[in-house]
C-alpha cells in the first residue's frame, strides 16, 4: 500500500471518528445553557481534563515549529522544556484563588472574573472590553496559524491528493461541525483521542531516530563536528532570551482564555489539581521529544536554511515512511497525530472566541441560552473569515502571531495581580494594559521584538504593572485609603 493511500485511509478513519464523537457528545448535553455548551456542564473528570489541557497546550507550532527551532538554534532550545513547565508552575498564581470563585459565582468567560472583581469600579466596562479585545485578537491570530498548518499537513499526509485549499476548508468545516454540535464536551473528548495519538506517534519517531543514529551521544558528537555553535555554552544574549522566554510564556499562557475556561470546566477542585499534577510532566514527554527530533535532524538532513528548517518534521517522516510498510504506517500515525494537535488547538480557540465575543464584547448574559446561539454564530463567522484569509498561501501573519504572547501577557495584571491585591483599581489597570500593548506592538513592528535579549512584551508588562499599581495607589490616596490586604475573595 502506498504512502498516499495509507495517508488518505488514515485521514478518512480519523475524520469518521471525530464525527462519531461529535454525535455522542451532542446526545450527552443536558441543556442549551452557555455553561453546558462552553464548559461541558462543569463535569470534566481528571482523565479527560488532563488530556484536553494537554492537546490544547501543544499546538501545531509545538509539533512542527519546535523541531525546526531546535534545528536552527541547537541545544539552547532546551529552554522550551523550561518554558512549557513554567506554564503549570505559573498556574499556582491564579488557579487556587480563581477556581473557588468561578464555581461559586458561575463564571463562563474570562471576562466574568473581571466583572466580578471590579464590579463597583469606574472604568470596569473599558477594562472588560480591553481584555476581551486583546484575547480575541490573540485567539484569531492563533486560529489563522492553525488553519494554515492544517492545509499544509493535509496536503503532506495525502501526498498532494488533498490540495492545501481543500484541506483548510474541509478540516475547518469538521472543526466547526463538532464544536457546534457538542461544544466543550465534543472538544474535550476529541482532544482526548488527539492527545493520545500525538503522544504515541512522537515516541515512536524518536525511538526510530535514536536507534538509527546509534544513540544520543553519537548525535551530539556529529552536531559538534558540523555546527560547534549549536553545542557550545550559549552567550549572554541567548541566556537573557532564555530567562525572558520562561517569564513571557509562563505568564501569558496562564491567561489564555481556553486555559481559564478549562479551570472553570473541571468537575471538582481536586480534579483540577490532579490534572495539573500530571500536566507538569508533559513537557518531558512531548517538548523534549520534539527538540531531540529537531537535533537528530542536524546530522541526518544536512544544511537546511531559513524557512526550510520548518520542514524538518515532514522531511524526517518522509524518510521514515520510505523505510518499509510498518514505518510508513507509523509515519502516517505521526502525521495524523500532528494534524490532531492542530485541530485540537483550533477547536478550543474557536470555542473560546465564541464565548469571549458573545459575553465580553457584545455583553450577553452568561445564563441566557441565546448567548450560546450567538457564540456559535460568532465562531462560525470568524472561522469563515480566517479560512478566506488562509486561502492565500502567500499571506504570512507570522509577525502578528509572534505578537500573540506579547498581547496576552498585558492581561496579567487584570487576573494575577487583581486576584492577590484588593487595592488594584479598574481604570489604572485599563490604562496600564493600553500603554503596555502600544509599546509591545510598536516594538515588534519597528523590528525590535527584543531589547538586550528580553522580549518587549516582558519589558512592557513592567510598564503596564507600574501604571496599574501606581495609578491604583494614587486613586486610593485621592479617595482616602485603600485595602492592601492580600486576597480578593469578594
Amino acid at each position: 500500500m502506498s504512502f498516499q493511500a495509507l495517508g488518505v485511509s488514515a485521514l478518512v478513519v480519523y475524520l469518521g471518528a471525530l464525527f462519531v464523537v461529535a454525535e455522542i457528545s451532542r446526545r450527552a448535553r443536558r441543556d442549551l445553557s452557555p455553561s453546558d455548551h462552553f464548559l461541558a456542564g462543569r463535569q470534566l473528570g481528571v482523565f479527560v481534563l488532563f488530556l484536553t489541557l494537554y492537546a490544547t497546550a501543544y499546538s501545531g507550532n509545538s509539533l512542527l515549529g519546535y523541531p525546526g527551532e531546535a534545528y536552527r538554534r541547537g541545544f539552547s532550545w532546551i529552554m522550551a522544556v523550561g518554558f512549557m513547565t513554567s506554564i503549570i508552575v505559573c498556574f499556582h498564581l491564579l488557579v487556587p484563588k480563581l477556581r473557588p470563585l468561578a464555581t461559586r459565582w458561575g463564571f463562563v468567560s474570562p471576562g466574568d472574573w473581571v466583572r466580578h472583581r471590579f464590579a463597583d469600579d469606574p472604568g470596569l466596562r473599558k477594562l472588560v472590553m480591553g481584555v476581551a479585545l486583546l484575547m480575541a485578537l490573540a485567539l484569531a491570530n492563533f486560529l489563522f496559524a492553525q488553519l494554515k498548518a492544517m492545509g499544509e499537513l493535509a496536503e503532506e499526509v495525502t501526498g498532494g491528493l488533498v490540495p492545501y485549499e481543500l484541506g483548510v476548508i474541509g478540516l475547518a468545516a469538521m472543526v466547526l461541525f463538532y464544536e457546534t454540535r457538542g461544544g466543550m464536551r465534543a472538544v474535550a473528548w476529541t482532544d482526548t483521542v488527539q492527545g493520545l495519538l500525538m503522544l504515541f506517534g512522537l515516541m515512536a519517531l524518536l525511538s526510530w531516530l535514536l536507534v538509527g543514529a546509534g544513540g544520543m551521544g553519537t548525535i551530539t558528537r556529529e552536531i559538534f563536528e558540523l555546527r560547534p555553535d549549536a553545542v557550545l555554552v550559549p552567550d549572554g544574549d541567548e541566556v537573557r532570551n532564555w530567562i525572558s522566554t520562561i517569564l513571557l510564556l509562563g505568564l501569558a499562557s496562564v491567561v489564555y482564555p481556553q486555559a481559564i475556561q478549562r479551570v472553570y470546566a473541571a468537575k471538582h477542585g481536586r480534579t483540577l489539581k490532579r490534572a495539573f499534577s500530571l500536566m507538569t510532566f508533559m513537557p518531558l514527554t512531548t517538548t523534549l521529544v520534539v527538540i531531540l527530533i529537531g537535533l537528530a535532524a542536524i546530522p541526518r538532513l544536512g544544511e537546511l536554511t531559513g524557512a526550510e528548517a520548518d520542514r524538518v518534521m515532514p522531511l524526517l517522516l518522509g524518510e521514515w515512511a520510505a523505510a518499509g510498510t510498518p514505518s510508513a504506517v507509523a509515519a502516517v500515525m505521526v502525521f495524523i497525530g500532528a494534524l490532531a494537535a492542530i485541530m485540537s488547538t483550533a477547536d478550543s480557540v474557536l470555542l473560546s472566541l465564541g464565548s469571549v465575543v458573545a459575553e465580553d464584547i457584545v455583553g450577553r448574559d452568561r445564563r441566557d441560552p441565546g448567548t450560546t446561539r450567538l457564540g456559535k454564530r460568532v465562531a462560525a463567522g470568524i472561522l469563515v473569515a480566517m479560512v478566506l484569509l488562509a486561502m492565500d498561501r502567500s499571506i504570512t501573519l507570522w509577525r502578528l502571531i509572534e505578537l500573540k504572547m506579547e498581547l496576552l501577557v498585558q492581561c496579567v495584571p487584570a487576573f494575577m495581580l487583581a486576584i492577590h491585591w484588593r487595592g488594584l483599581r479598574a481604570a489604572p489597570t485599563f490604562w496600564g494594559l493600553v500603554v503596555g500593548t502600544i509599546i509591545a506592538v510598536t516594538a515588534v513592528f519597528v523590528g525590535s521584538p527584543r531589547i538586550y535579549g528580553f522580549h518587549t512584551g516582558v519589558l512592557s508588562l513592567g510598564v503596564n504593572l507600574l501604571i496599574a499599581v501606581g495609578g491604583s495607589l494614587a486613586v486610593a490616596r485621592s479617595t482616602g485609603g485603600t485595602d492592601l490586604r492580600v486576597g480578593a475573595d469578594r
Binding site: P100, V231, V239, S277, L284
Partner: protein
C-alpha cells in the same frame, strides 16, 4: 475479644499528617515552590563561560544535562505542590 489496631506505616502517617494539618501542607507547598524557583535559576547557564566546550553527560552537553535535570526536578516538585494545593470548591466536601 481481639481488638483490631490499624497497622502503622510511614505512608499512612504521612497521609494522616497531610490531611489533618493544612498549615503544614501550605508550608510544604511554599517550600516546594521555592525549590522550583531555585531550579529555574540553576537551569539557565548564566554562571558558565560563554562559548566554552562542554563535556558529554548522558549523551548531552553538560549544561544541557544540568538544565534537563533541573526541569525533571521542577516537574516532580511542582506535581507534589499541586497535590498539596488547597483547591476545594465551596460546595465540595473534604476528602
Amino acid at each position: 475479644m481481639r481488638i483490631e489496631t490499624p497497622s502503622f506505616t510511614p505512608r499512612l502517617y504521612y497521609a494522616d499528617l497531610m490531611s489533618r494539618n493544612s498549615l503544614l501542607r501550605r508550608r510544604a507547598r511554599a517550600v516546594l515552590l521555592g525549590l522550583v524557583v531555585l531550579l529555574y535559576v540553576v537551569s539557565v547557564p548564566w554562571y558558565r563561560e560563554a562559548g566554552a566546550t562542554p563535556s558529554i553527560v548522558f549523551g548531552l552537553p553538560d549544561w544541557v544535562a544540568v538544565a534537563l535535570g533541573c526541569y525533571v526536578g521542577v516537574a516532580i516538585l511542582n506535581s507534589l505542590a499541586w497535590l498539596l494545593t488547597d483547591l476545594q470548591d465551596h460546595d465540595e466536601e473534604a476528602p
